[in-house]
């Protein structure tokens, strides 16, 4: 029985005249307490996929289900960490987290709230900067503040959009452990976007690759069947780890090469532009349009 599910989901942006299909026929089924990574090239539609899971976007076709029920909208049970952090710039780190705690976890008493918030702030190692405004923070510090804000809600599903991409190796591994611990202790379901294959293999149960856009879709997932806890220091010698890493890397390389080949080796198509009945003065404009269309460029 799947916990979180995407069924034949398609989504695109723009008006009909200038439509850009981002995802097409995406199917994904995530079990409860599963840790899934999504990898894919920049601009392929990973964040869009996350927005769908968080209920921030509605699919054009298909449906997004949580426990078999369609997701009607965003909420604190689907804890989203945004790729661009989305910290509120007029609030300090503390206030940003405080707002989240107050509204998503109202059961925490006023007297305990401060300790609760400070716990998450020190978890992401921002003890020295709780009163700083986002514009006074470095990129990595903002990312950590945003992570703390998402974690403090304690959502059932954690949706992390490149949560650690701006951090140095040491902080990064600490926070990886922290996320893993939360996931293990609280029995969370986690979907994480990452562009670091090592990180994906180290942390997750399953790695789902997204093909290149437009109209991207999820390809066959790579199962990570390695015992936990996984030790990042001995991992480099682990046969399974090496195999997965090479598989995934070569798959991704293949994707990008396929794309290049597809662009280069397009079968020449007959020119089937409609007969031009427009007035001669307009003809020029039409010809110009044709010149930039892919059909005519492949002909050359």
């Amino acid at each position: 029985m799947s916990f979180l599910e995407l069924k034949d989901v398609s989504i695109g942006f723009g008006p009909v005249s200038n439509r850009y299909e981002v995802l097409q026929n995406v199917n994904l089924s995530i079990k409860e307490n599963e840790f899934v990574a999504v990898i894919g090239f920049s601009g392929s539609g990973k964040s869009t996929l996350m927005n769908l899971l968080a209920g921030l976007e509605k699919p054009d076709k298909g449906e997004v289900l949580l426990r078999g029920q369609p997701i009607t909208g965003p909420g604190p049970e689907l804890g989203m960490m945004f790729q661009n952090y989305s910290l509120l710039p007029w609030m300090s780190v503390y206030e940003n987290i405080d707002l989240a705690v107050r509204s998503a976890r109202p059961e925490i008493a006023r007297s305990e709230r401060k300790d609760y918030i400070m716990h998450y702030i020190s978890m992401v190692k921002l003890d020295h900067a709780p009163d700083k405004k986002p514009h006074e923070l470095s990129g990595g510090m903002r990312q950590r503040a945003s992570l703390a804000r998402t974690l403090c809600i304690r959502p059932e599903v954690l949706l992390l959009d490149e949560p650690l991409s701006a951090l140095d190796a040491l902080t990064r591994s600490d926070l990886q452990d922290e996320i893993l611990r939360i996931w293990g202790e609280d029995k969370k379901t986690v979907v994480m976007i990452t562009n670091d294959v090592d990180e994906a293999v180290l942390m997750t149960d399953r790695i789902v690759p997204l093909t290149m856009g437009p109209a991207a879709t999820l390809d066959t997932p790579f199962e990570v069947n390695m015992a936990r806890p996984r030790d990042r220091y001995t991992l480099n010698n682990n046969q399974e780890f090496i195999r997965l890493k090479t598989d995934i890397t070569s798959y991704m390389m293949g994707l990008s090469q396929e794309k290049k080949k597809a662009a280069a080796a397009k079968v020449p198509m007959p020119d089937i532009a409609p007969k031009d009945f427009s007035l001669p003065s307009k003809r020029l404009g039409f010809k110009n349009l044709q010149a930039v269309s892919p059909a005519s460029s492949s002909k050359a």
Binding site: W90, S103, H135
Partner: protein
């Protein structure tokens, strides 16, 4: 350690300069603290010295061009004349203050002051005598001087008149002789015509010269500078004497304590009369008188000083108060409506036609409309609760709130509402989607969404709009006051324009500067506020 505290002072100062927007003084502060002297000096030279020189050039241009243009209300005032009027206005203000203290002084202090004032008066009178005798002397000497100056012109004019006479008579005889000769056939008609034409040109040249001389005569008749100065001095002393007399008057008969005492002695006399009298009718009358007297005494005790002339300072205060009231009304209307428009497309569609039609309407039209509408609310302004209330509030009571002020403020509000409204709507509708997404994920309620997300994120733009509104309001107010005769800077300008005394043009120019300077400070104030609410490093553009 010492270094550190100096640094704190330095950066504190720099921060104040930065926030208040007087960044041009930044290099001066840095230079004072010895930071990179060469760099700072070059900055001072470029951004302070050269602009100052430029300003002086502008003032010099003004000073040299102004006197060449003569207008109906006299010459265009030069900078020095404007400064003079500032001094005059300030003196007037000081005098009113002096009279006010005189009115309120009590006890032995009053006696001492009266004595001092009388002594001053005595010395002034002596001074006046001296000035007067000086004046007569100068007048006499300048009379002969003027006569001497005039004599050559008069002589010349007489000579020309004589010349004209002889010319006319000789021409007449010549012409008749010629005419006779033509009749006799000994001369040609052309010679006569030539002779007449010659005569005319000669006559014309002479009359022209005469009128030129007359003009010079009137110029020479003008009083010499020494006489003018003596007259001014005598006038000034006479003026001062009059003022001192008035001050003494305020210490004596017009003094509040004096008036109270006066009434009290009267009341005591009446009471004594009543107790000694045996006639019940008299007793009744005396008792009634007593009641009336106590009431009168109370009235006088509470009386405030009534200035004889409205002082410029009063007008400035009143204008600032009016613009503030109008601005607050505008903000209170604009911000909620703007938020509504920003949040809701239907509201925006509802308000768009109203905004687009009324925004371009001239303030003058609004003034007239409000004059009619507001006027109807105050059929009896003397007893209307609003004005009665305003006359009891501290600070506001001196300003004299009246219907004219109310509709000036309404006009200001009407014109200032649009920039604030449009900006607020824009601010709210352009909140970043990311921030709204946070609100959606956290499922914030309406009020949290409003106060935690929408208002803070739109504040900088809202304040930018308010800043424009205040600027517009201040401009509109001056025009509204001029037209509505609501006491204030605008009315001051209008009155000066109407009365057309020798000082009024300079007064208008002075008012122009004051309006500008106040407007500048209001703007700075708004910039400071805007900076306080903006959340990015350099959110506010200066």
């Amino acid at each position: 350690m010492a270094n550190k505290s100096i640094d704190t002072i330095k950066y504190g100062l720099l921060r104040i300069i930065d926030v208040s927007g007087f960044t041009i003084f930044d290099p001066v502060v840095r230079l004072l603290f010895g930071e990179e002297p060469a760099k700072q000096t070059s900055k001072i030279l470029k951004y302070i010295v050269i602009p100052t020189i430029f300003l002086f050039v502008c003032i010099w241009l003004w000073a040299s061009i102004a006197p060449t243009h003569k207008t109906k209300s006299g010459q265009v005032p030069t900078p020095s004349q404007v400064i003079e009027t500032v001094e005059t206005n300030y003196r007037q203000y000081e005098r009113e203050q002096e009279k006010k203290t005189a009115f309120l002084t009590t006890g032995s202090e009053r006696d001492a002051q009266i004595k001092a004032a009388k002594e001053r008066l005595k010395s002034l009178e002596e001074e006046s005598k001296a000035a007067q005798s000086e004046l007569t002397k100068v007048e006499e000497s300048s009379l002969t001087e003027i006569e001497n100056n005039l004599a050559p012109f008069k002589k010349e004019i007489e000579a020309i008149a004589a010349k004209l006479k002889t010319l006319t008579s000789s021409a007449k005889t010549e012409q008749t002789a010629l005419a006779d000769a033509i009749a006799a056939g000994t001369a040609k008609p052309e010679t006569l015509i030539q002779a007449i034409a010659d005569f005319e040109t000669q006559k014309e040249a002479l009359t022209e010269k005469r009128s030129e001389l007359n003009k010079q005569l009137t110029e020479a008749r003008e009083d010499p500078d020494a006489l003018k100065a003596a007259r001014l001095r005598a006038n000034a002393v006479a003026n001062e004497i009059q003022h001192t007399n008035s001050v003494i008057d305020h210490y004596e008969k017009k003094n509040r304590e004096y008036q109270v005492n006066e009434l009290m002695t009267k009341a005591d006399a009446a009471a004594a009369l009543a107790s000694s009298s045996k006639d019940p009718k008299d007793i009744l009358k005396a008792a009634k008188d007593q009641v009336r007297n106590t009431k009168k005494i109370e009235d006088v005790q509470e009386r405030e000083y009534a200035p004889t002339s409205t002082v410029f300072w009063h007008q400035i205060k009143r204008s600032i108060f009016t613009v503030f009231v109008g601005f607050v009304i505008a903000a209170v209307i604009a911000i909620p409506i703007g938020m509504m428009c920003g949040l809701n497309r239907i509201a925006m569609a509802c308000f768009t036609p109203i905004i687009s039609i009324f925004k371009p309407v001239s303030p003058v039209v609004w003034l007239l409309i409000f004059q009619i509408i507001v006027g109807a609310f105050f059929p009896d302004p003397e007893n209307h609760p609003l004005f009665v209330l305003s006359s009891t509030l501290p600070f506001i009571q001196d300003l004299g709130v009246n219907p004219a002020m109310v509709f000036s403020a309404c006009t200001v509000a009407m014109c200032a509402v649009w920039p604030a409204l449009v900006n607020t709507a824009l601010a709210v509708s352009s909140i970043e989607q990311d921030h709204l997404n946070v609100a959606r994920v956290l499922k914030l309620g309406f009020f949290d969404r409003l106060f935690k997300i929408i208002i803070p994120s739109s504040l900088p733009l809202v304040f930018a709009g308010l800043r424009i509104s205040l600027g517009v309001g201040w401009m509109v107010l001056i025009a509204a006051e001029a037209l509505s005769s609501s006491d204030g800077l605008g009315k001051f300008v209008w009155d000066e324009y109407q009365n057309g005394s020798s000082f009024s043009f300079a007064n208008i120019i002075m008012a122009c500067f004051i309006v500008g300077i106040i407007g500048f400070f209001l703007d700075r104030l708004m910039i400071c506020l805007q900076r306080l609410v903006s959340f990015d490093e350099d959110g506010a553009t200066v």
